[in-house]
């Protein structure tokens, strides 16, 4: 970006979330200076007290799910003032772990948890941003991978398609030369049906994949669940495996519901 040229205006927002994905942006320690030279961060409450939520924004990053009526209103305003809207993380792209309430009675939860339920104004479901407004790109993860975030921003600046492969975790696990924890250790691993991006983090530490990046395209969850059952898993285990951080994502949701009595 040459001198005198206006740098793209970036906004970073959060809805219902833990802020971890926004932190991935701040975790880009080595690249942060180059990034700040290329973009103009207009609104980023997690990082700066200079706030301008009204925009307009060339690129907006939205973290978090829609959990309250106020968030829905805010989201519509964000969309209206954003040219490109990218959702980041499992909450924004799949409803997040808080979407577990979608499978239960929301009113009952409120009564059980809060001393003054009448203070609580939340929706019955926690839902991904794309269920409410048009989204230009979804970056998966819990949290997102910072290298992928950098790639999405770099690609936006260069006008290219982000190099974020829509493949299984197995692909990056094998590229990294990891030994398959499912085959060699008999662990339950959601890697074969889960979207890549984490760098096969859990298998690298000898744990099966938890599926936090959500289902990959054409996720054959039924075949994997059948295999887990044949390997000795019971129905509640299958439900828990698919109903975790991205349990509200369509393919995982359908699979957990198939095993939920």
């Amino acid at each position: 970006m040459g001198a005198g040229e206006a740098r793209p205006r970036i906004g970073v927002f959060k809805l219902a979330s833990c802020d971890g994905c926004q932190l991935s942006l701040l975790d880009l320690e080595d690249e942060l200076l180059a990034l700040l030279g290329a973009i103009d961060i207009v609104h980023f409450p997690e990082a700066s007290s200079a706030m301008n939520p009204r925009g307009p924004f060339d690129l907006t990053l939205v973290e978090g799910s829609v959990s309250t009526p106020a968030q829905l209103e805010e989201l519509r305003a964000i969309r209206a003032t954003s040219t490109v809207l990218v959702t980041i993380g499992a909450c924004a792209t799949a409803g997040g772990v808080q979407a577990l309430r979608n499978f239960a009675d929301h009113e009952e939860f409120i009564r059980a948890v809060y001393a003054r339920p009448d203070y609580i104004d939340s929706l019955a479901t926690s839902t991904p941003v794309a269920e409410h407004v048009a989204v230009d790109y979804e970056l998966r993860g819990c949290p997102i991978a910072k290298a992928q975030l950098l790639e999405v921003i770099s690609a936006f600046l260069a006008g290219r398609r982000p190099d974020v492969a829509d493949e299984s975790v197995c692909m990056e696990c094998k590229r990294a030369g990891q030994v398959c924890v499912a085959v060699a250790h008999g662990q339950a691993c959601l890697g074969p049906v889960t979207h890549a991006g984490c760098g096969a983090l859990c298998p690298r530490f000898a744990r099966g994949c938890f599926g936090c990046f959500g289902p990959k395209e054409r996720a054959n969850t039924r075949a994997l669940a059948d295999h887990l059952v044949a390997s000795g898993a019971d129905r509640p285990q299958i439900v828990r495996a698919f109903r975790l951080i991205t349990g509200w994502a369509a393919a995982f949701r359908a699979e957990s519901e198939r095993h939920d009595d």
Binding site: D30, E31, L33, A34, L35, A38, L150, I153, S154, L157, A158, G159, R160, R161, D163, A165, D166, E167, S168, V169, C170, M171, K174, R175, A176, G177, Q178, V179, C180, A182, V183, A184, H185, G186, C189, G191, P192, V193, A206, E217, R218, A219, N220, R222, A223, L224, D226, H227
Partner: protein
């Protein structure tokens, strides 16, 4: 003449290899498996361990001896060292006074591969043909492979999933195989055979004893027992490619797709799978864009996707692609099967799908040919290619000398390559914008030193190309692929049928046909566009045939070529349009299609399907029809595997094919 090598001598051998600068790689235990990694010495080997394998299951087990090579095969063999899973190809320096292209990485130290099994040696011979046997040689592979020192080991205890006896790739490391040294483990020592001059040089440097005839007999006995242990496994190779391609609509493909996770694990452990994608890597703070190769798989969505089309959307089609390629079309492409019987794809499939069982199921219940509406596939014999020198992945930065706007979203780039550039009409180039991406674009003619490329803005890279200005530079690789049959067309009536932007790949050929009436006595172009505003090269079409009714004529014909007749039709008319309205096949019905003319067809695939059906109805034999195909191309050099179309690679066998070459493939879903 064999010799006996003690364990101490083996240690010396590894030490000598390291002293000679080799990176010594071999089997070692990590994370509960035997992996192929750097060895510190013989102590790093899986001494006294073996691996038990079953579909979807792998476990290490202690042996009751201290064998060095008493295991079968680990998840990944030498492949990841000869073709790294992530490999930078070139760097394109953008900033500074003049952009430059340079190799991405300095040469690695030479590899010494220890413990290479017969199946892995066979896999290396197969991948040699993939990476170096086509029109282009991948210099990275050729360099690593050429310098690699191979210490092969006979396989005396095949695992439960091994079927190399059926694929005829083991268990013996045969005398003539491409190894430097061969070991046969016998108790506490090895039988050693030398296979090359550098192997001899190393053997001369270690202490050896003379082997006895008993040692040789014991080796043969062990190999026979190993072979016997595999009896009944695998599948019958006889006629297998034909059987698979005669059963492309077999119900078994759907059945296996219901079990298959399409995770790609089988392709990532296969020692011969070579598909890869190529991406731009341009971190914000870097002054150079890198082009990087990543292992890919025919099970990923991106593998068979181009802008606006996904050719293998279903897992059924992806599994079929993998298996029919590995065991069928591989023979047409590279002269042998792509399977070496190592069993890795069976062991490491997370749900234990056994490819040998899938093959046997199809062999056991073949479908009658009448079940297949698309007809029979003809698998050609493997061909040899004329070699093209240089690194096919290294672009030159060519000058854009002029840009002609053709349509609202379409321009013609005049690109002047540095140095000589010879091409034939019908071929294509890879054009790229560093940091953005690279796309295949057909050559649409030549004017002076400028090679013309007509580009429509559909994706990020093509959009960036249409935004180029004269004086800019563009990444250029090529030319690639086959050409229109201008020689065969001499003296014959020629009919070109084009749809939309499909006129661009034909224009170079049409210019030849127009310019040489003595060679081409009658040329007819039938061209269909979506609307009058979408007619490509309008003025040039008028210069070929001024009788075209285009609506209000604004351009005077430059020359009249009396042997050329142009018919234009549009799908949708517009005010002022006085020409024909209707799809291009309606033009074909108005003008009789003579069977003996030569037909060149180019356009969207669905349009070509209708055109070919119309030509078949008119009785035009397949040998008289040529068409230009499109698939996902990343390398254009026959290496990345993504543009496969049945037994062909579009990039090196096409894009221009004769109709009968594509019998049984063209028009079939999922190819």
């Amino acid at each position: 003449m064999s010799a006996r090598l003690s364990r101490g001598g083996f240690d010396d051998l590894l030490r000598l290899l390291r002293e000679r600068g080799y990176r010594v790689v071999g089997p070692t235990i990590r994370d509960g498996a035997i992996v192929y990694d750097e060895l510190d010495g013989a102590a790093s080997l899986p001494i006294g361990w073996t691996d038990e394998q079953a579909p979807g299951r792998y476990r290490l087990r202690r042996r009751d001896d201290d064998a060095y090579f008493g295991y079968v095969v680990g998840p990944q063999g030498p492949r990841r060292h000869l073709t790294p899973p992530v490999e930078p190809l070139v760097k394109i320096r953008l900033r500074g006074p003049s952009p430059e292209v340079e190799p991405a990485a300095p040469a690695d130290p030479p590899l010494a591969l220890i413990g290479v099994r017969a199946c892995e040696l066979a896999a290396m011979a197969i991948t040699d043909r993939v990476w170096t046997g086509g029109p282009f040689v991948d210099p990275r592979y050729a360099d690593r492979r050429g310098r690699a020192f191979v210490v092969a080991v006979d396989c005396l205890e095949p695992g439960a999933l091994c079927f190399c006896a059926a694929t005829r790739t083991g268990p013996e490391v045969a005398d003539g195989a491409d190894f430097d040294l061969r070991l046969t483990e016998q108790g506490g020592a090895f039988l050693l055979e030398v296979g090359s001059a550098r192997g001899q040089e190393l053997a001369d440097a270690v202490e050896l004893e003379v082997a006895s005839a008993d040692d040789e007999r014991a080796r043969r006995r062990g190999l026979r027992a190993a072979e016997a242990a595999m009896r009944g496994r695998g599948f019958d190779l006889e006629g297998l490619p034909q059987t698979l391609f005669a059963n492309l609509e077999h119900p078994r493909w759907q059945e296996v797709a219901e079990r298959c996770l399409s995770c790609g694990s089988c392709t990532q452990v296969c020692p011969t799978c070579f598909c890869h994608r190529v991406e731009e890597r341009a971190p914000l703070d870097a002054d150079a864009a890198e082009r990087v190769r990543y292992w890919d798989s025919c099970f990923t969505d991106e593998h068979s996707r181009i802008h606006g089309a996904q050719f293998r959307p279903q897992t059924r089609e992806r599994y079929r692609q993998w298996l029919t390629h590995k065991l069928g079309s591989w023979v047409s492409q590279f002269g042998s099967s792509g399977c070496v019987g190592c069993g890795r794809c069976v062991a490491w499939c997370p749900v234990g799908i056994d490819l040998t069982a899938e093959v046997r199921a199809i062999q056991a219940s073949p479908r009658p040919p009448a079940d297949d509406a698309c007809g029979e596939v003809e698998l050609p014999a493997a061909r040899t290619y004329a070699k093209v020198a240089g690194d096919p992945m290294r672009p030159q930065l060519a000058a854009v000398t002029a840009v002609t706007r053709e349509l609202g979203d379409t321009v013609t780039l005049h690109v002047e390559p540095a140095g000589p550039f010879r091409h034939l009409p019908g071929q294509f180039c890879m054009l790229s914008i560093p940091e953005v991406g690279e796309v295949p674009i057909s050559i649409s003619g030549q004017e002076g030193a400028a090679i013309l490329h007509t580009v429509r803005a559909v994706g990020a890279a093509s959009r960036a190309l249409t935004e180029l200005r004269p004086g800019d530079r563009v990444g250029l690789r090529g030319p690639f692929g086959s050409a229109w049959p201008l020689d065969q067309a001499k003296g014959r009536n020629v009919v070109a049928v084009a749809g939309g932007l499909g006129l661009a790949p034909l224009r170079g050929a049409l210019r030849e046909l127009v310019a040489r009436p003595e060679d081409y006595p009658s040329v007819r172009l039938l061209y269909g566009a979506r609307s009058p505003e979408d007619i490509l090269y309008g003025p040039e079409l008028l210069s070929w045939d001024r009788s075209i009714r285009f609506g209000p004529e604004t351009v005077a014909p430059a020359a009249r070529a009396g042997h050329v007749k142009v018919h234009v039709t549009v799908d949708r008319g517009a005010p002022g349009w006085t020409g024909h309205v209707g799809v291009v096949t309606t033009l074909m019905r108005r003008k009789p299609m003579t069977p003996h003319a030569l037909y060149m067809v180019c356009g969207p695939e669905v349009m070509m399907r209708f055109v070919l059906a119309e030509l078949a109805r008119a009785g035009v034999p397949a040998e008289n029809i040529w068409l230009s195909m499109e698939r996902n191309m990343k390398c254009a050099a026959g290496l990345c595997g993504r543009c496969q179309y049945g037994p062909y690679f579009i990039c090196k066998d096409g894009p221009v094919f004769r109709r009968d070459q594509l019998a049984g493939i063209f028009g079939r879903e999922g190819f």
